[in-house]
Each structure stands twice: as structure tokens, then as C-alpha cells.
Amino acid sequence: MTTSQRMIKNLYRDSVSLMQFSEKLRALEGIQQASAVMATENNISLLVEAGLLSGAVPPSPNDLLIVVEGRDESATTTALDAAEAMLKTKSADTGEGGVRRVPPRSLEMSLESMPSANFVLISTPGEYAAAEARKALQLGLHVMMFSDNVSMEEEIPLKQYAREHDLLVMGPDCGTAIINGIPLGFANVVRRGDIGVVAASGTGLQQVTSLIDRFGAGITQAMGTGGHDLKSEVGGITMLQGIEALAKDNATKVILLVSKPPSPDVMKNVLDKAAKSKKPVVVEFIGADPQTITGGNIHGVKTLEDAARAAVLLSKGKTVKKFSSALPARYKSLVKPAQKKLKKGQRYIRGLFSGGTFCYETVLLLSEALGKVYSNTPIKKDEKIPNVWKSLEHTVIDLGDDLFTQGRPHPMIDFRLRNERILQEAKDPETAVILLDVVLGYGSNMDPAGELIPAIQGAQKIAAKAKRNLVFVGSVCGTESDPQNLSRQEARLREVGVILTDSNAQAARLAAAIVGAR
């Protein structure tokens, strides 16, 4: 008589078929006794006691232990092989389970292959985006709508449904978000930390999150609300949901809000919600007076950089004081050398931006410092540039405006238009400073420096021919983890003479200082 055993890992059979199975084993040729039990400690000792196991075996309660006692080793081995085959036949090929793996053609079909999907990113043409978003919500999925040209009449019912079902709708016209550390749309790879962001502006979100990373801290989540969320009609539904979620999120210690100033009724609700969160909330309503917002746990700030700084300080448990509007010393020292380069007559700043919020912040800061600033997205109506294709005095242009992007890729990807404009400004003898934003991250051009450098050098040549110099000032928005390699981008731009500051705000102030007191 020989006893042999075999362990079958993680294979379940219900009790009825296990009993039948043991019987089948016992009926095999040359087999005296057979038992199939879960390999628990107690069962093992029972089998040892019954003489069916020669020695104790390490217990593994989720595995099936088969023991047979038979005439000889050949009989027991054959029996165990048969046993294993009997158990394994079920898991043999059952085809594709009845479903053919064609690429999914609808959201519901997608869930057949990815049932634990929790998020839908929609970038279809705007006229179809709302219907796709509605389907996603009804299927219990969160939504980011990159698509724009979705009316508020469509946006509002979507967000109401989402709110009722505790789902998030980021957008429409939301180009940027970072959820669970994953960049979505045009977004940067940002360190994980404890600051949570809700932003109504894509590039605003990119700037604050990149700066937070630059300042050594990190984020939990960065949610985009889309461009119309804070209008009265929509009522800030997504921003309010975002604040609430970050308030409940244990990992988030500081909340940061970014947008243009909302209408008064929405602003009130947002600030109330922020106050109720019981966490420090940094509020950057670009263009609003921070003093009117600050109070309790709420800290109003003026620039996107101030917002990032405040958030980082608060996350470290430090207090936030009012930030200075003055140019920091390290940039102040660059002013005079730059001014020396300029000839009489060179007096204007020409700002050429790919990010709408960068443009807006720049217009604000330059207006404060210099007075009249023309733009295609001005603060004051009477400072709307008469001809977008030709600069007038101080001019700051948002090249991402619809005007420029009809039938053309976005300027964060395609630099042709901006490069042409750089050369055009170089020809103008009144141009002193060319002010630029450079945005890295997923979705953006893979080598912005490489795209800009020929244009910058070309511009400098044109100016040199006319015995002039141009001053290039800019900032690179990005992190070391972005695919474009931040340090290399900055180094190459500096190599061709571009003065780079940490942030868009400082670049604007530096440019203002250069053309300022002359």
C-alpha cells in the first residue's frame, strides 16, 4: 500500500461535485482510499492521523489537497493524474465566452471589456459631446469633456444629473485635469502631495500645479470645471462638487481654487462652500482684489504664482502673509542690463501667448504697471486691439483664441503662427520686449524650444540688421517629470538669450520693469 498526495492550487468545486469526485477516485483501479479536502491545518492533521499523509504538509487553506491510498505508486500516480485532469477540464477552452472582441463601438460595449472603467474622456466634435456625456453619467461613470462648442442649455442638465448622482462632469471645454496622478488632456506630470486644486481654466491649472511641483510640494487631485461652470446659469456646480470632494478627501490638506472672478451669486456660494470645508483654501480669482476674499480659512491671492506659493506654505503648516507685488531681487538685477540693450524708440512689449490664462494674467499685471495694454482678450473694452494681426503699442495676444485656431492646431502644438508673429514684431522698430509663454506637458508640442529657437534667432538677426536688440522674456510652465525635459528646454532657451523667470507673473513684471521707467 502506498499513499500519495497532490495539492491543486486555488481550484474550487462545490461540495457536491467534490464528493462525487472523491467517489470517482475511489473507483479507480488499484485505489483503496481517496480524499479531497481543503488543505487546512486541522484537515492535514486528520489525514495524518488516518494514515493517509505520511508527514505534515504546510497548510494552505485555499488549496485542495488530494490524497489517495493505493496498491502501489503507479496506481496512485495514475489516480492523481486522472484527478487533476478531471478538475482541469472545466477551465479548458470555452471559446471567447460568447463575445467577439471587436473594438467597442459604444460606451456600453466598452464596459463589456472594461467593466471597472470609472471615467470617460470625451473629445468628440461639440455637437455630439453632450449626448456621450449623458450616456456616461447614466452608466455611472465620471466625465471629462474636452470638447467645446457645447451650449449651456446642454451643460446645465448634465451637471444637474451629475450632482444628483454624485458624479463629476469636468467641462465642457475642459482641457486639463490631473486625477489620481494621471494627466488628462493637456496636463503636466505633477508630484503627488496634499494640495487639491479646482480650476476653471486649463492653463491656470497647468501653471499652479507646475509651480507647486517646482516649489517642492505636490497635489492630490486637480479638477477642471470647464469654461462656463462659474457663470450664473450653471451656478458653479462642478466647482462646488470639487470643493466638497476635496473637503472630504483625507489626503487633501489644502484646497486651491483658480478662475476668473465669478458672478456675485456664484462667488458667494463658492466662498461659503470653501469656508465650510474646514481646510485652508487659497482662492485665486484672477483680477479680483484678494483682500475682498480673504477671511477665516480663505486666503485670497493675486497671481497664479502667489496661489501656488500660498498653497505650499499652508500645506507645510506655515502662515501666509500678503505677497509682494514687487519684482524679486534676482530678477531686478536683470533689468538694467536688458535696458542697456535697447535703442531709443524701442518702448513696447509684444506678448505672444499660447495659454489664455497666461495672456489674461499678463494683461492685468501690465495694465497695472504701464496703463494701456491692447489685446484680443482685453480687461477693458476700449483696449480691444483693432486689428489682431497687427500690434499696437503694448500688445498682448492670445494665439489660442478661436480666431486663430479655425482649421489649425492649437498654438501649444503648432508654433507656426507664433513664430511668424515673432518675426513680424522684430521688424517693428518700436518693439522692445517680446514676451512668451512656453507650456510643456502631455498634449503640448514635444520640443517647444526647438520650435521657437529658429524664430528667436531669426528675429534677433532682423533686429541686428537694423542695429537694434530685442529682449526676449518668458517662462516655461512644466515639471521635471514632463516628457519634454524641463531643464533642457529652459537651458536651450537661455542659450539663445531668452530671460526665463519661474512664473508667468514674474515674466510680466520683469517685462514691465524693463520698458517701464524710461
Binding site: 467577439r100 471587436v102 463601438r105 472594461m114 472603467a117 455630439y128 449623458r134 450616456k135 454624485d166 470632494a245
Partner: protein
């Protein structure tokens, strides 16, 4: 659940620019690219109506009810009788036809030919010319078979004197009907109406019909689902391939026939007639499917498709929750192989109520079990299986009673969900014969066609 999202692994379905998936995949998330195109052929209103119904609890509940009634139907062949006796409310001057409603003047060639034949058969006119005048005159009532619980292949013409199969759904008691199959060649359903056709029809009414009735009654009724289930295991799909099912039926009927008091001479002709017609079972298969689908019809809010039918000019669809409404679009042409001597220019558009088989999950939906038809479109058996597998994405479930051997005995996809058709753009596939566009010539080919998406879009628009 927003906070729940923060705890989960981000798994994104990407709808639109595929480049967005890159950032997700490269930074540790999961993404799946949707092969997206605007649903509902770009109609935004229908697109939003569709969106509101996807996963809507009330629609889901209605569909479960409708689907369950459809799947649990147990159609039994009860007997044969003249249409005027069997079909409730059939008026005396009524002629039924396949597909959605259509007036005489617009009927295609084969259907007009069949109508003339039926008029002559009934004795309402002496010759084809006066039959034609009668038809055009307005004194006759033309109606879809479907409106009377009936279905007919090709022209599908049923007149009051014609014998019809009577099928009853044991579960809910609803009845369905179909005419008896005449065989191939010069037959009424392809629009032929000469003396030989009329003689055959007379014989069918006087001898075949009563014989079938006697035999079926002798058997106490015939359960139809088991025959179809078995036929599916023998290479039939019960729309275009009916040889096995017809043989199985023959086996059941013959001993019963021999027990009736049918005269020997009639018996021989009856048996020869059935044995010689590989499509004898088709009409019964259709009536069986009709009975099943009618059981699921009429559930408010349900998007179960309960009829697909063609009249040679238009393709029509009915849906459980929209009652009697027909949603129509121009009938498509069939992609297929033509018999020697014929070409696409000879073809009539898709014709007949036989798409009721696909509606119930057999026919083209079971193509994987009967791959022969794919040869007509230059395909392989693998293609046939692929067609069936594609249908799983647009059906509400499967019919466990109908399993398909080449698919590891997977149950056939059954119960078309109009929402899924519109959302995915995958149209139901139909196996079908091709009729000559002129009356009386007959079948000129066979192949595969798809139901027009427009029908389902309209159904959703009106739901």
C-alpha cells in the same frame, strides 16, 4: 462617489482623439479607445434621446419584462385552416402581404404578380387584366400580414381561402399564422400567377391543408422550439437553410398522416410534395418566431425589436414599446451571389417577412451554425461565426434553447435592442434569398444584407 474615484485605479474610456490615451497609459492609468462615430447617423436630437435611455432603470425594467416574455414563449403548431376561419377579423375582400403597409400602385413586381394570382385564385376576377383593374380600383383591402398576427415569405400574399398554419404560444395564448410553402420555381410568392400556380394553390387548399391539419391534430400539436433547436445542431439556421428542420418535420408528420383516413392517392402526392421541398419548414419557423416576438410586444418603454419585415420597396421595423407604429426606410439591395444567367440588375430589393427569424435570433443571427450562406458572399465559416458574434453586441440576451455547435454551443444572441443598434451602428444581419424584380421569374440568388439603421433611429426618436 467622487471621493470613491480618488481611491480607485483610473480606468478611462477614451471617446475621441486617440492621442489622449497616451498620457493615461504612460503614467500608469488604463485606457480603452472607443471606435466612435456619431450615433444615429449624426442626428443630434435622436442622439440625445438615445442617451437618455441608455441604462435608464425604467427602460431596463421594461426590456426585462418584454425579453422574458419573448424567451419563455412556447409555440405549438396546432393545425391548418383557411385564413378566413383561422385569422380573426380578416375581412372578406382582404389580401395580406409581407412587410410594412404599401398601396397597390407602389408594390414591387413580384408582389403585384402575387396579388393578381391571389385574386384569380379567389375567383374575384377572370383574367390577369381584370384582376389588375380590380386591384387598382380600390375595392380591395390590402394589409400587412403582421397586422393580423401573420407572416409570409417573399411577397407573403395570403387571401381568405388560402390554408394557413396556426401556431399558438402556450405561455401567453397568442396565435400566429403563416401560409404553406409552395416550393421553388414558378410560385405565387415570387409573383408567378399562371395556370400551374393556380392549380397548385387549389390543390394545397383542398388537399394539402386539410391533410396537414389532420396530421397535426393526430399528433396533438407539435412543439416547434425543439425542432428548431435540433435543426440548428444539424446545419440549418431556419431562414435560408431549412432542410434539416423540414426533414425532422417530415418524420413527425408521416406516421401521423398514415393514421388519418386520407385517400392513398392524395397521401402519395402530399408526402412527395413535402419531401421535395427543403424549405417546407420555413413558413412554420417564421410563424414560431412571430408568436415568440408577439409575446414580448406591447410593453411600454421597451426597446425590444419585435418585427423586421420588407415589402420589396421599404424595410419596416416595429418595437415593443411603440405599439403598431412602423419605422421604415428604403429596402436595401442584397449583397450576394447570383444564379447563372442573372446579375444585380435583375434583383428585386429585399422582400418578405422572413426577417422575423433574425428578429428572434435565428436565421442570420445563427449564421455561425449554418455557414454555407457565406459562400454566397465569398466568405469563410469563420466569417459566419464572426457575424453571429457581432450580433451579441446588439441583443438583450441569449436564447438558451437555441445553442450553436460551432460556437462551443453558445446560446444564440436573441432579442434586438434598438438602443444598442443606434449606439453602436451595428445593424442586424439578415440571410436572404434574392427575387427577380419582374413578377413570376423566381429566385435569382441569395446573400446577406443588413437592416437599415434609419429604421431603428426612427424607433428611438419615437420612443
Amino acid at each position: 462617489m467622487v471621493n470613491k474615484l480618488f481611491e480607485q485605479e483610473l480606468q478611462v474610456i477614451n471617446v475621441g482623439l486617440s492621442s489622449f490615451a497616451e498620457s493615461i497609459q504612460q503614467t500608469g492609468g488604463k485606457s480603452l479607445q472607443l471606435d466612435w462615430r456619431p450615433p444615429a447617423s449624426g442626428d443630434r436630437g435622436i442622439g440625445m434621446k438615445l442617451a437618455l435611455r441608455v441604462n435608464d432603470p425604467q427602460v431596463e425594467a421594461a426590456n426585462r419584462t418584454a425579453h422574458e416574455r419573448f424567451l419563455s414563449a412556447q409555440p405549438i403548431l396546432m393545425g391548418v385552416d383557411a385564413a378566413r376561419n383561422a385569422i380573426p377579423n380578416l375581412g372578406e375582400r382582404t389580401l395580406l402581404h409581407a412587410g410594412p403597409p404599401i398601396e397597390w400602385s407602389r408594390m414591387c413586381g413580384p408582389m403585384q404578380g402575387a396579388m393578381i394570382g391571389a385574386i384569380l385564385y379567389e375567383g374575384w376576377a377572370k383574367d390577369p387584366e381584370s384582376a389588375r383593374d380590380l386591384a387598382a380600383g380600390g375595392g380591395l383591402h390590402f394589409a400587412p400580414c403582421h397586422h393580423f398576427g401573420a407572416v409570409g415569405p417573399m411577397s407573403g400574399v395570403i387571401s381568405p381561402s388560402m390554408p394557413v398554419w396556426i401556431v399558438k404560444n402556450q405561455e401567453r395564448g397568442n396565435l400566429s399564422f403563416s401560409n404553406l410553402n409552395e416550393g421553388l420555381g414558378k410560385v405565387l410568392r415570387f409573383g408567378a400567377n399562371d395556370a400551374s400556380v393556380l392549380e397548385r394553390l387549389q390543390w394545397m387548399g383542398a388537399v394539402l391543408g386539410p391533410a396537414m391539419n389532420a396530421a397535426v391534430r393526430q399528433l396533438g400539436g407539435v412543439e416547434l422550439r425543439p425542432i428548431i433547436a435540433q435543426a440548428l445542431h444539424m446545419g440549418d439556421e431556419c431562414h435560408n437553410r431549412n432542410a434539416a428542420a423540414s426533414s425532422l418535420l417530415f418524420k413527425r408528420l408521416t406516421p401521423a398522416l398514415l393514421k388519418t383516413d386520407l385517400p392513398q392517392s392524395d397521401l402519395a402526392r402530399v408526402l412527395e410534395f413535402i419531401a421535395g421541398n427543403d424549405h417546407f419548414f420555413l413558413n412554420i419557423s417564421m410563424a414560431c418566431c412571430k408568436a415568440m416576438l408577439d409575446a414580448g410586444h406591447g410593453v411600454a418603454g421597451s426597446t425590444l425589436v419585435t418585427a423586421m419585415a420588407r415589402n420589396g420597396v421599404e424595410f419596416g421595423v416595429r418595437m415593443s414599446g411603440t405599439g403598431d407604429a412602423w419605422f421604415t426606410a428604403p429596402a436595401p439591395m442584397v449583397a450576394g451571389l447570383f444564379f447563372p444567367g442573372y446579375s444585380p440588375s435583375d434583383a428585386a430589393p429585399d422582400l418578405g417577412d422572413s426577417a422575423i427569424t433574425e428578429t428572434a435570433g435565428i436565421g442570420g443571427f445563427a449564421m455561425g451554425a449554418a455557414p454555407a450562406i457565406v459562400q454566397f458572399v465569398g466568405g469563410t465559416p469563420q466569417d459566419a461565426i464572426a457575424y453571429t458574434r457581432e450580433m451579441y453586441h446588439i441583443t438583450m440576451g441569449v436564447n438558451g434553447g437555441f445553442t450553436l455547435p460551432p460556437l462551443n454551443f453558445d446560446a444564440a444572441p436573441a432579442g434586438i435592442d434598438a438602443r444598442k443598434v443606434v449606439d453602436t451602428g451595428i445593424a442586424p444581419v439578415i440571410n436572404t434569398g434574392i427575387a427577380h424584380k419582374d413578377a413570376g421569374v423566381g429566385q435569382v440568388g441569395a446573400g446577406i444584407t443588413r437592416a437599415p439603421l434609419a429604421c431603428f433611429e426612427q424607433a428611438i426618436a419615437n420612443s
